[in-house]
């Protein structure tokens, strides 16, 4: 049978996507697909899934006579079979070119690198030795069979146990497994092959190509390496020429990948060992999902989606019926005694609204709009939670990631009192500030902030004239002031960088300091606060990751500390105010829907994020049948 041909349209699309540094499955150019290693019940049986590519390796042993040239060495024999179930292009019988190539590569990688100690396989020198045979079967071909097979082969070799033998003069006794425990092979190191594919004459480089990407590539390079940074094999094939520095760069990338994969193999071996030791079930049957009919198994797709609040959507589930009603729950804001407001006033952007009460409230809102400013405290009416927004560029994004890792996404505040909303967008420039703020308010439904921390501008330093940039920043900060008149503005100073794109280090540093000084002065004049980051200097190499721009874990921790210190001083002032305003909570005419919200849910539920991990609130979950968990990405 023939394989589906690749159309010109797909080819052009893949190349174009590479130009944008995008891959079809959303991976980064140097990312591997998900590797899943499972071991069978038999010793030496290993199945590896690399994305959709699936390879099964089985190790077996036999006693034979050794080769004449090496009488005291065992024999390692590798056989790769491309079964027709892997791809319609593979045929039974004669091995195709690809099959020969993979076979040869694996032989070089495993046998010639001496990863297996063949001398320990000798029984009687010159007469009897063990022959270890590795059969690799490719079960599904979705690109990069070589990597997958090498992982499967080495994992199977490490998993295998051979029978124990005793030599009695010239008699050899092979002990079955119930008499004597079988012994493992002595594997010195684990060589793993890493495949790089090249496009446009070496311009673009991808690691772990899928089937489609392989069809488009100009050529590929396979590096077989172990975690001790020793290259076991190197092969370049295809119609292209490579520069020396590209080869070196690839080997550096391979070091990282090989280390990760070796760790994964070790972990899988350890898990299997533990399972066998503790008498638990092991083998393939355990790793497959049961009690479900599956013809199509799909890993959860990772669609890039920013975190949004899920709890509000779940309220609408009852009303949805296939029509496109995208209403979002609106919070009722108390304006004055007996007056509540939903929405921001202005024209109604709702579709069909069958709730008369809210329309009335809207009218009242329009009338009482000038009274809005009399509210002393912009917090949610249903609970006295102070909201903090942290808006900015990739620095904020990575700080959030670090905070999540340290399980302090809410900056160690009690979510009932302070709620932190992160909005860090990588690559964000100053122009996008207003748009992002409006989006946070309207689309993501962040409640209006009590404190707004802005960390932005470093991506503009190189592209704008300093004076122009400063005046734009000041103008936008003024606009933010008007948008949130009661919010405490905080300007987080632009961080020092070790590398500025388009500028020398001195120039970038000077610009940054001037911008920080002038904008900081302006912010303090209009009543805001400035967070300096005195401990993050470009001379501190230990705070930056390799790109010289972003913070590593240490740097991010300092950043988080700075923010928290600033916040605590602001919030400490405010606690004196909160006590007064709490007593003036008013009665409001609420519609039936709002009543449901107020009376059936505990107050703290309203602002709870499903994805947040606040252990003290988990037990409340049981009562809620509104909230439906929906996992899109892992």
């Amino acid at each position: 049978m023939r394989d589906t041909p690749l159309s010109a349209c797909e080819r052009n699309f893949i190349i174009r996507a590479l130009g944008d540094r995008k891959r079809l499955d959303g991976r980064q150019p140097y990312d591997y697909r998900k590797v899943k290693i499972t071991f069978g019940a038999d010793r030496g049986c290993c199945k590896v899934n690399l994305g959709q590519t699936q390879v099964l390796a089985q190790v077996s042993c036999e006693i034979t006579s050794p080769r004449a040239v090496r009488p005291s060495d065992g024999v390692l024999f590798i056989n790769v079979e491309l079964s027709p179930m892997a791809s319609p292009a593979f045929e039974v019988g004669r091995m195709s070119d690809l099959g020969v190539e993979i076979n040869r590569l694996l032989e070089r990688c495993l046998r010639e690198s001496r990863c297996l100690d063949t001398e320990s396989l000798c029984i009687i020198s010159g007469e009897k030795v063990w022959q270890i045979r590795v059969d690799v079967n490719v079960m599904n071909h979705d690109g990069n069979i070589i990597d997958c097979s090498s992982i499967a082969a080495i994992a199977a070799l490490a998993h295998f146990r051979r029978p124990d033998v005793t030599v009695d003069g010239s008699e050899v006794i092979v002990h079955p497994s119930d008499e004597k425990d079988p012994i493992p092979l002595s594997v010195h190191h684990m060589p793993i092959c890493v495949t790089f594919s090249f496009y446009e004459q070496g311009k673009y480089l991808l690691v772990d190509p899928t089937d489609k990407e392989e069809k488009v590539m100009d050529g590929k390079m396979v590096i077989g390496m172990n975690k001790h940074r020793e290259i076991c094999t190197l092969q370049v094939s295809g119609e292209m020429l490579l520069m020396k520095d590209q080869v070196l760069r690839c080997s550096n990338i391979a070091v990282v990948k090989v280390t990760e994969i070796t760790e994964l193999i070790q972990r899988a071996l350890e898990n299997d060992r533990q399972a066998r030791l503790n008498g638990k079930k092991f083998g393939f049957a355990e790793s497959e999902p049961t009690e479900s009919i599956l013809t199509n198994q799909q890993e959860p797709e990772e669609i890039q989606a920013t975190e949004t609040q899920m709890d509000e959507d779940s309220e609408e589930e009852k009303g949805m019926n296939g029509d496109l009603k995208t209403e979002r729950k609106s919070k009722v804001k108390i304006l004055d005694k007996g007056v509540g407001m939903i929405g921001e006033g202005g024209a109604s952007t709702w579709g069909v609204e069958d709730n008369e009460m809210t329309e009335e409230l809207q009218k009242e809102a329009k009338v009482t709009q000038p009274d809005h400013k009399e509210v002393t405290h912009t917090t949610d009416c249903q609970s006295a939670v102070s909201t903090v927004w942290i808006v900015g560029s990739s620095i904020v994004y990575w700080a959030e990631t670090r905070a999540k890792v340290r399980k302090m996404q809410n900056l160690l505040y009690d979510p009932k009192e302070v709620r932190v909303y992160w909005d860090g967008v990588r690559g964000m420039k100053w122009d996008a500030l207003m748009i992002n703020l409006q989006r946070d308010l309207a689309v993501y439904d962040f409640p209006e902030p009590y404190v707004l921390i802005i960390h932005l501008g470093s991506n503009d330093v190189a592209s704008w004239n300093t004076d122009e940039l400063i005046s734009r920043m000041k103008a936008d900060i003024q606009k933010v002031r008007e948008m949130f008149p009661l919010t405490q503005l905080v300007f987080s100073e632009i961080l020092a960088r070790r590398v500025w794109r388009g500028l020398s280090l001195e120039c970038g540093e000077a610009k940054r300091q001037r911008i920080n000084q002038e904008v900081g002065q302006y912010v303090t004049e209009i009543g805001g606060v400035v967070v300096p980051h005195e401990n993050i200097l470009h001379q501190n190499v230990t705070l930056y990751i390799k790109d010289g721009v972003h913070m590593n874990d240490f740097g991010n921790d300092i950043l988080l500390d700075d923010i928290m210190n600033c916040l605590s001083s602001i919030l400490a002032e405010s606690t004196n105010d909160t006590e007064d305003s709490m007593e003036t909570e008013d009665e409001v005419i609420l519609s039936s829907i709002d009543l449901d919200i107020c009376y059936t849910l505990p107050l703290s539920e309203v602002n709870k994020d499903i994805e947040g991990n606040y252990p003290q609130q988990k037990e409340i979950n049981n009562d809620d049948d509104f909230e439906i968990e929906f996992k899109t990405s892992e």
């Binding site: 023939r2 589906t4 041909p5 690749l6 159309s7 010109a8 349209c9 797909e10 080819r11 052009n12 699309f13 174009r16 996507a17 944008d20 995008k22 079809l24 959303g26 009919i293 013809t295 199509n296 799909q298 797709e301 669609i303 890039q304 989606a305 920013t306 949004t308 959507d313 589930e317 949805m320 296939g322 496109l324 995208t326 967008v425 990588r426 690559g427 964000m428 996008a432 992002n436 989006r439 689309v443 993501y444 929906f630 899109t632």
Partner: protein, 236 residues
């Protein structure tokens, strides 16, 4: 056996109970078995479904396409042979597409189609005895949207057949929801191939992912997923 609607049926199961006293039995190409015995075997396996007033069918997850006359499919031109193009439609054999079956094509005026192009075409002949034939014009000689597509970009996606049927059904809100937030162009072939084009590469990849994950989603889930995706695209 009316209660077996919604359950899994296997080949060899007897479904004669489903027939009323005076109903006739029509079976489609996909389900007739080799001996032609109308009352017993089904060749496919999976859920038995029922649609008012009188259609029972076996719904299954299938990836390989079987040509049906009148189906619109997306094919890839593999070779030229004499007067025809040989087109791969994902079936067991290549289909033929004559040169003259394009709008305003004459013997002198050959259509501008190269090997590797994608064409949106319809089956003229499709049965188990003959080689399938495709055309890119309708009865009156107009192209009606058929013909070469993908000349200026776009991406081709391969999905199982039942997903295509789901996505094209009037109840499915996927395309409508996507259209609320994104501008995109899509051509859906009944052989499981979908061609998608948006302004940017990222949007195209996002739409392609959205379609492929909606396979096991309900309408509500689809709406949620689409709105999340649209937000993340807008927010860079």
């Amino acid at each position: 056996m009316v209660d077996s609607v919604g359950k899994v049926v296997l080949p060899g199961e007897n479904l004669t109970d489903l027939l009323g006293s005076d109903s006739t039995f029509e079976s489609s190409a996909w389900s007739r078995n080799t001996t032609g015995d109308r009352f017993s075997d089904r060749v496919k396996t999976w859920f038995l479904k029922f649609k008012e007033p009188n259609i029972y069918w076996v719904d299954s997850f299938q990836k390989r396409y079987i040509p049906q006359r009148g189906d619109s499919v997306i094919g890839i031109i593999t070779t030229k042979a004499g007067d025809v193009f040989r087109v791969d439609v994902g079936a067991s054999e290549l289909a033929t597409l004559p040169y003259l079956a394009f709008e305003s094509a004459t013997k002198r005026n050959r259509p501008d189609v190269k090997v590797g192009d994608i064409v949106y075409c319809k089956f003229l002949v499709a049965n188990k005895d003959m080689e399938p034939e495709l055309v890119c014009i309708d009865g009156s000689g107009k192209s009606a949207g058929l013909g070469v597509i993908g000349r200026d970009g776009g991406m081709l996606l391969q999905v199982p057949i039942n997903l295509v049927q789901k996505v094209l059904s009037p109840e499915c809100v996927l395309f409508k929801t996507l259209g609320k937030n994104l501008k995109y162009e899509v051509a859906v072939g009944m052989n499981g191939r979908i061609w998608i084009k948006c302004h940017t590469v990222m949007e195209t990849i996002a739409v392609a992912n959205a379609i492929s994950v909606s396979q096991h989603m309900t309408n509500q889930d689809i709406q949620k997923m689409c709105s999340q995706m649209a937000d993340s695209l807008v927010g860079f």
